[in-house]
Point group: C2
Chain length 275, copies 2
């Protein structure tokens, strides 16, 4: 049996039918003690009010997302993105999130220069670290699957994520988020998870469907796809990670359409069998 | 100006509207001197007859595909796949193809063991090399984009492709196919192209659309997406490659619906501006 107190659910899993407060109360009703919070949902409800509800419910916030998207080449937009990220960090502090999940951003429509975009994302990340440190908020840098390279993340591998963390050299504030969906195909997965070691701030799980139909919103529930999730979880835990196993299923065609109470029940079953 | 005699078109680019002979004659009519041949199309027309038409038209076959798909774990199917690949190699010899394009295969529905699938693909490849050598046909091993890892190719990077070529150590017969669509996001692209060096057997070009809607059949025409194609072409040519630049656009929603003569004309324009 997996320890159920380490199960977290990201509210992206019940995105379509549950608002922020419905998710907090819904997960709690099923005995789930931690959740990943999605910024738009929290803002709809109100950040202060949300922080209070989380405290009153006794719900731990495993992470807060999305932060980042630091690749607009136009200087004004870049500064605006940095300012917005500082607000995200402050919000994360207010709800006591264990980390903010930061994704690099993709390619500007006008630029085909991937190296420049990578450089800029790293520069933006460096600029945010002092603010995060002052706020006492950890940043979890998350590489995304290369199919999202153009739209969301020029950071396309765990090796590059480790390299950036080495360069920025602030392990107290900067860590790594590992989502099995984004890294399961990687040629050197075991090596790069071991290298991430105590930098790992969060572990996300879901599954990759053989007949995936959408690049972002067609993830599978654990057990329905091809990822050997327990193998990856064991690698992450062997590297020293002891935190939550957070279920995050963006699924427009299937799970978002179902009754969220049913979804949470199935998450709990699949957590035992396939995580 | 790019040398137009190095332009090849893969018939996947006019897949929907042109049969094998229509493609041979259509490309020739526009002065295109080389083409990539798709197996199903050739078989519909007849291999011997197709070989004759190619000779009579003076059309060079830049490559023949797809070969491979060597990952079924059930032993009988694996042997059948090897036999089928030997026939593919013989067909490639008959039409004088400069290489067969081999893709590894994805994950079996029943297995989540990616390392085992990789091992089996490599074993199958090793078993095919003697037949290819005897037939005088080069094998071009092509890594595919990781979004096709489950369905088509557990070989997900150029680095791993180079590793397999090193292990199998037969550069006369075994080489590498580089498609910008599959590798443009790679963190060590320049390094791994330089390492492939004289092993490079073919170069495929198309573009990655920001709003990609399908994992396999939604490629863009050069210039419509985010890939810096000239930069990659220059890396490949600096590594010693002097062969064709083959345009391969699988595009169900757009280019397949257009008049193929118009498509070929646009390919020729875009070749000059964006390759």
């Amino acid at each position: 049996m997996l320890d159920e107190s380490k199960l977290a659910i990201h509210q992206a899993t019940t995105f379509e039918k549950w608002s922020f407060d419905e998710a907090v109360e819904g997960y709690a009703r099923h005995g789930v003690q931690a959740m990943g919070v999605w910024r738009d949902k929290l803002q709809e409800f109100g950040v202060q009010r949300g922080a209070r509800l989380l405290r009153e419910t006794g719900m731990t916030v495993s992470d807060y997302s999305p932060a980042g998207l630091l690749t607009p080449l136009e200087d004004l937009s870049f500064q605006q993105r940095l300012d917005d990220n500082r607000r995200i960090i402050d919000e994360a502090a207010e709800i006591g999130a264990q980390c903010v999940v930061l994704i690099s951003g993709g390619l500007d429509d006008d630029s085909r220069d991937i190296e420049r975009a990578r450089g800029q994302a790293k520069e933006g990340l460096a600029a945010l670290i002092p603010h995060a440190k002052a706020a006492g908020v950890a940043i979890g840098l998350e590489p995304l699957h290369p199919m999202l390279c153009a739209s969301r993340s020029v950071l396309t591998s765990l090796e590059m994520t480790n390299d950036w963390c080495d360069e920025l050299a602030d392990d107290d504030t900067l860590g790594v988020v590992i989502d099995v969906y984004h890294v399961w195909w990687e040629p050197h997965l075991a090596r790069d998870i071991a290298r991430a070691a105590c930098r790992i701030r969060a572990l996300h799980v879901c599954d990759w469907l053989q007949d995936t139909r959408d690049l972002r919103l067609d993830r599978g529930m654990m057990g329905d796809g091809v990822i050997d999730i327990p193998a990856i979880r064991r690698m992450v835990e062997a590297a020293g990670y002891t935190g939550f196993r957070e279920v995050e299923v963006f699924s427009e065609r299937d799970w978002w359409r179902r009754d969220p109470d049913e979804v949470v029940q199935i998450v709990k079953q699949r957590y035992q069998s396939f995580v």
